[in-house]
Symmetry: C2
Subunit: 320 residues, 2 copies
């Protein structure tokens, strides 16, 4: 791989798949000053992505989260009318197509057919490993997972996960690129189902669902336990730093005190099966008593507003 780890306006970024995730990535790259080409196999989806991005940029501007006028950022977004046009001369492509292994495998073959020998491809896959869809192609050493949280222009984490054929330089390139646009890079060193983020979420959710199932607490009370309790520290420290500071001697001291309790709690769930229809219906009913289904969309708007306020608060905290 003979290329420098640089993305400039001469070498734009290609967005492949322009749904919610892809359009969110477009904002993140364009906000950082990069030229972005937006492509979707469905031209209507690609066309809708640009006005949507403009409206999100207006909201970011209202919250004081942009360093330039929204129009300047929108001006960096252009539509591409074919995959070949999107990646032509691009240094990096972020793919966010449907989360299905056959769809991703087909896309990698299509990209392989049109890409030059320097293009790096990041996949937004939230759980499927790159080794399941990006092996034995010319481009394989230059493909890796770059898994965001939605929306990537607000929540900074991105998980970088190489396949077993990804070259180290590709990981280094993606690390530089993602840091350059302000993301927080997590390196997942070995491929594993769900990567790190969804495995941690899965572990907490499994316990949460079991507590609801057993009548220990309601969904709302479990949510309160996190948002008014655990979430306070986790939102600026993470779980290891939290426990490291929670015992006089640090994390080993903490493990000696609480390890046996935590093992006992883990053992108590070993026999649990999958979430069955009855349990899903109960949790659905519990949530619907808090939020009717026709208010989900409005609540999502509320969530985006809170995330923007949170982004402002985090930025202020870092300036101190």
């Amino acid at each position: 791989m003979s290329r420098s780890p640089e993305v400039t306006n001469d070498r734009p970024v290609a967005i492949i798949g322009a749904g919610l995730v892809g359009a969110g990535w477009a904002i993140a790259f364009a906000r950082a000053g990069l030229a972005v080409r937006v492509y979707d196999a469905n031209p209507d989806t690609a066309a809708a992505a640009l006005p949507w991005a403009a409206s999100q940029l207006d909201a970011l501007h209202r919250h004081g989260l942009l360093e330039e006028a929204p129009q300047q950022i929108v001006a960096r977004l252009t539509l591409a009318h074919s995959l070949a046009e999107a990646v032509d001369g691009a240094a990096y492509a972020q793919e966010s197509v449907l989360e299905r292994v056959d769809v991703k495998r087909r896309l990698m073959q299509d990209i392989d057919a049109v890409a030059d020998e320097t293009l790096v491809v990041g996949s937004s896959s939230s759980g499927i490993m790159a080794s399941d869809f990006a092996l034995d192609l010319a481009i394989s050493p230059r493909v890796l997972i770059a898994h965001p949280v939605n929306p990537p222009y607000l929540v900074p984490v991105v998980e970088l996960v190489p396949s077993r054929q990804t070259a180290p330089q590709t990981v280094a390139f993606a690390d530089t690129l993602m840091r350059g646009i302000g993301q927080s890079v997590v390196h997942v060193r070995k491929e594993i189902e769900g990567f790190v983020l969804n495995r941690l979420q899965a572990a907490l959710l499994r316990e949460a669902w079991a507590l609801q199932r057993d009548g220990i607490a309601s969904c709302e009370d479990i949510d309160k336990t996190v948002r008014d309790g655990l979430g306070w520290r986790w939102s600026f420290m993470g779980p290891f730093e939290t426990i490291d500071l929670n015992a006089p001697g640090g994390v080993a001291d903490y493990a000696a005190r609480l390890g046996p309790l935590y093992h006992s709690i883990a053992r108590s769930r070993i026999g649990d099966g999958p979430w069955d229809e009855q349990l899903i219906a109960r949790v659905e009913q519990d949530r619907r008593s808090q939020l009717p289904v026709d208010q989900l969309a409005a609540r999502r708007d509320w969530r985006e507003e809170r995330l923007m306020e949170f982004a402002v608060a985090r930025r202020e905290a870092k300036r101190d």
Copy 2:
């Protein structure tokens, strides 16, 4: 039980055990306008609690988190020189003695001997159930768990957990009292090891430790995944609302899409044993590479400052 669910300056709150947790509770009650009597079996501990509380109140004042002068709040704190003096005429006692079942059982017997027939007792126990130390006493119907997160004057959650002999009126009384001082009340409806908060923390930590053990990610990268990713939503929505908004049709739709993956992730950890010495040493080394042991105390001060900023931001968000 013939008493009204009211705590007034005529009927103060007793703090029993004046270490970090008890002294933190003293601040939370006094800040809300209540008279607080502070008692510890070790007179030096009790004496040290008052100046410590004064210094914390000064910090809260600097962050704009108090509605009156710190001295006015400090003036509501008095030392009690015996358990009998502490609970004499008190409506409520919060006990925060050592987390050991024999110590708590002995304390309940001692309180039982001196309390009038209306005193309600909340225990700060973080995992031991009230049925393990507060049964078959005259006071048993008036004892429950009121488990805080440290420090309770900053992080609002409190878990209320009745024993099998706790009267419903006791839970109602504690609910009114805790809401009255601004805490966020979680009702744990059945006794279970670790209650809700530490069970959720345990589930996430088990996965986090396993990921570190298997070389998937470092402690720092796992912390980043939470503080720059999952923690953003959890800090204002909790896990159920998060997934309810993350699928077009709500939580049942989400379960249909991701339930099988999460069950598979859960199954992959069934064989895991307790954290052994080797693993604890590795995690300790990983954390110490981020933070030397002699900087733990300074980092705890940093944490308190961040929590205060977070409290300010949360208050602003609620005002919107």
